[in-house]
């Protein structure tokens, strides 16, 4: 298949995914062409992106699509999407607390809305609504605060009461007899879930079609810096020269930045998630409860996807724990007691690179040519498109786009932290 793609179809040509081709490949004898190719590693590239998740691939795609920079390599130590991009709970929303955060994530939602058509890849974005529950006066107050900030920024977001919650989610226990009665919720209709693997594959396929090289199973072991600027990277498959290196490695970002001699205000903590056996569709919106430290949504296949807050201590371990499952199950049953006989099929953990202000670190570093797109904590997947678009713009134009000026690494020296903590600590 590889030779057919590269020789007969020619560079950049792809069989489009369409109803016609579905019939053609379905009843014909041919196989679908591979969505992206393997390449020999070149001795140099214009841009090297470390990390083949949604962020790295989106940066590569927008560099090629928006700015014509195609001599780009994306390196991943495993397979693409094997890190946080394949481990998150695939929730998309923009109802944040700070104006900077709201504007930024709103752009991401807008890009996600048109992504399937743009990439010719069904990413299954399902805008089914997003409910953030309030179980106390103080969290209800924060919900009102967020709703007002959201409305000022033009986001569809409002506070609703227990009756309206019950109408949206009949299975939820909204009575006053629970341990943490539900007082209200922030309702965000454009929020929803997406198929995260499809987003990664769609960006990879589109970037590959534009000439980007994707090198999987290629681990970066060092970054060469000379005279204060980056010169290239060393990998377990040899060295590559490049004037621009972008760190898109989320949970592992400290280790990559250390190689370039850039100190990071980041700690890495696991976040655990679990999925149940499929059941009939009964839950439409995404449910989040900061008080109970859970969020839950039902996929198109009927499985319930559960997530929690980050583990209480930093670690690079991606093993799950029984404590997590017990606590999670208990809290889920407080919300929806009828789920008591549903079985959990799998659990896993992803690594979150937490920053002191629950906001990302994007842009330039003291090492010229070394860029970071990290600090994505528990909210990285939903930001993939906008992070890719703005980082590509920064690299191509050498000017920091307004959307990300608040997120620079130098804010920690100025004391200008963003303060998204109230909204983002578990609010997925």
């Amino acid at each position: 298949m590889l030779s057919r793609l590269s020789s007969r179809n020619g560079h950049g040509m792809r069989a489009r995914y369409s109803a016609f081709n579905l019939v053609r490949y379905g009843i014909g004898s041919g196989e679908w062409p591979r969505a992206w190719r393997d390449h020999e590693m070149k001795a140099s590239y214009d841009v090297i992106i470390v990390g083949g998740g949604v962020h790295g691939l989106a940066v590569a795609y927008y560099l090629a699509a928006d700015h014509g920079i195609t001599n780009v390599a994306v390196l991943d130590k495993g397979y693409i999407g094997s890190g946080g991009s394949g481990r998150n709970t695939a929730i998309i929303r923009s109802n944040y607390l700070t104006p900077e955060g709201v504007r930024f994530y709103d752009r991401s939602v807008k890009l996600y809305e048109r992504l399937a058509g743009e990439l010719n890849f069904n990413v299954m974005f399902s805008q089914r609504g997003h409910l953030t529950l309030a179980h106390s006066d103080s969290s209800l107050r924060t919900m009102h605060w967020r709703a007002e900030v959201n409305k000022l920024e033009g986001i569809d977001s409002e506070v609703i009461g227990p009756q309206e919650i019950k109408a949206l989610v009949p299975f939820m226990d909204t009575s006053e007899s629970t341990r943490y009665p539900i007082l209200g919720a922030l309702y965000h209709p454009p929020g929803g879930i997406i198929r995260h693997d499809a987003v990664v594959w769609g960006y990879a396929r589109a970037a590959d079609a534009l000439g980007v090289h994707i090198h999987q199973n290629t681990e970066v072991t060092g970054i060469d810096v000379s005279g204060g600027r980056v010169a290239g990277v060393r990998t377990d498959r040899g060295s590559i020269a490049a004037p621009v290196v972008v760190n898109c490695t989320a949970g592992w970002s400290t280790l990559i930045s250390d190689m370039a001699g850039v100190d990071m205000p980041v700690t890495t903590s696991p976040l655990q998630a679990a999925v149940t056996e499929p059941v009939r569709p009964f839950l439409r919106p995404v449910i989040v409860s900061g008080t109970l430290h859970i969020y839950v949504s039902q996929t198109d296949r009927g499985e319930l996807v559960f997530g929690a807050s980050v583990d209480p201590f930093p670690s690079y371990s991606m093993r799950g724990s029984l404590e997590f499952t017990e606590e999670l199950a208990g809290h889920i049953l407080e919300l929806m007691p009828s789920l008591s006989s549903v079985r959990v099929l799998r659990q896993w953990a992803g690594l979150c690179d937490m920053t002191p202000d629950y906001s990302p670190i994007m842009g330039v570093t003291p090492v010229e040519g070394f860029y970071v797109d990290v600090g994505w904590g528990t909210y990285g997947f939903k930001a993939g498109p906008v992070a890719g678009e703005t980082m590509a713009q920064l690299i191509a134009t050498q000017k920091t786009p307004e959307l990300i000026t608040a997120f620079g690494l130098e804010r920690f020296s100025r004391g200008a932290l963003v303060g998204e903590k109230g909204a983002a600590s578990v609010g997925h």
Binding site: T254, D263, M264, S315, Y316, S317, S321, P356, S413
Partner: protein
Amino acid sequence: MMLLPCPHCGPRNSSEFRYVGEGTARPDPGTATIGVWRDYLYTRSNPAGWTTENWFHRAGCRRYFTVERHTVSNAVRASHRPAAQARTTSDPEGLSAGTERGPDAGPG
């Protein structure tokens, strides 16, 4: 689940403890530069490997101690009581074991 060997109480489930973090020395406010303050407040080594860190046994002896833990496997190879000096001299941040009020300290 992770067992932490408390030097006072023996091995206990990690849920009994609160993670305190890497030990950082407070710089002199009179002479510290912006960069030094930034590092003190925010920069963390966040290693993938053996690290030395502080924990607090909140559901046990309510004392601080030091642990050597591997951050990838979560294996623990040693734990120590704080240095004797930290427990006997006054601690301006109230972080040492000696100044911590125990659960039985009574009303006050």
